[in-house]
Amino acid sequence: MNTMAETKPVPSAANPQAAAPPLLARAEFQRIFYPLLVAVLLIGLWQWWVTAFDIPRFLVPSPLLVAQTLVKDAALLFGALYTTLKITVFAFVCATVLGVLIAFAFVQSRVVETALFPYAVLLQVTPIVAIAPLIIIWVKNPTASLVICATLVALFPIIANTTLGLRSVNPGLMSYFKLNRASRLQVLWRLRIPSALPYFFGGLRISSGLALIGAVVAEFVAGTGGTGTGLAYQILQSGYQLNIPRMFAALLLITVTGVLLFAAMAWLSKWALGSWHESEARHE
């Protein structure tokens, strides 16, 4: 008795294009091409400046020299990268698991949140360089102490974002669940967790970078104590030896790692939310 709907669905994805637009007009291409163009220009300018003004290599090495050092010291540098990356990933995983658990505890009870949230903030605002020496003294295993430091740095955004997400439930949907007499567990599983996902992934993006920063900072502190062979330690050593090209090469590796981590999280977020959330949806 009911005829078809009066409306047509909004096209869900870009129409299969008959004639593909020129390469330069494609958004995906532009997203890679323009930043790359900036990089090429800056590096070119840098190379020209160093050569033209004959800048000594112990002040500013040329990009070419940095690249050569990267190849020459590959074994040393990539070994160090592996160490740093290991700490970063461990810390990131710990921060994620711990942060989510704490967020769940906060959401289950206002009392718990009120009692503990100030201490989460305290953790966040205390500079890691100030507590790292203590942790390194207390924890005998050097890797474990570094992981703890980096975890402390990366933890807060996960707690804050996930808590916010678990609370950011559409009030209408909440009423609907209540009307259908949904249990606490059903509300958590079917409503709170899916609603929290976009916020959680936002937290992941921030924390991935922070875990790396935490790992590097902790290595700096530990390095002066004689432990660790991560990238930060290499930078310190190169500094003592005035091996500036190697310093730059190590720095480059840290930066690239940070960008790749961020990109991985962005991709993960897109993969998980792409189909439904506005932040990841394609806008025409």
Binding site: N2, T3, A5, V10, L179
Partner: protein, 266 residues
Amino acid sequence: MSGAEGAPAVEVLSVEKTYPNGTHALQPVNLTVQEGEFVTLLGPSGCGKSTLLKMVAGLLEPSNGRLLLWRKPVEEIESTGHRLSFVFQEPTLMPWARVQANVRLPLDLAGVPSAEAALRVNDALAMVGLDKFAGHLPRELSGGMQMRVSIARGLVTQPTLLLMDEPFGALDEITRNKLDSDLLDLWRAKKLTVVFVTHSIYEAVYLSTRVVVMAARPGRLIEEVRIDEPYPRGPDFRVSTAFSHYAKQLQDSLLRASGGVEGALA
């Protein structure tokens, strides 16, 4: 054609609502909705029509008075063999779930076996004309279609009482008229009892067997108008003399209650 009016489905007995902040949302109200009726609560913003509907659904506690559904308190509606569904002003769909999963939600929450749930979801989607869109995400649908999904979710539990809180308020007029007429078809086919909230005089006249006019500050009932027109009501009814007559009567009633032109239709 308003169905066999037998037992009272909804009884509102001296129900009153004062919010904790002191706002007197609703003065004591008495209202009976017979089984099979289509009753519309019509009034301006702040007249307490939504508040009243939410109290009937058990979403809000009345400050005073009693509410009965088939002579039982809301919590015991299951024992009467009846079921109620509430359709909100917004579609309130889960954006991460496909249409099918959204409609199945109340069945999942109630623990209905999945084979039976799937059948009922298909039926409900067919009723609102969306069977071809089961696999779509809400954001891929227009506002009108999202509202249809919301109605399908309301119907999938096979309710006997449908409570609707300005369900089509956010839609354009053409879509709204279409949904209104589809809703009447469903009401007649399923022998539902409907309590509908709107601030549109025309929607009230078109849909209802009876219109309850309400006024604001403080929220109260001021008049009941029976729309004695046969169903099915086609598009011609909207432009008939009788229609204008009822619309005029409701408008005058709203104007009188607000003490003048100002604010009556705000």
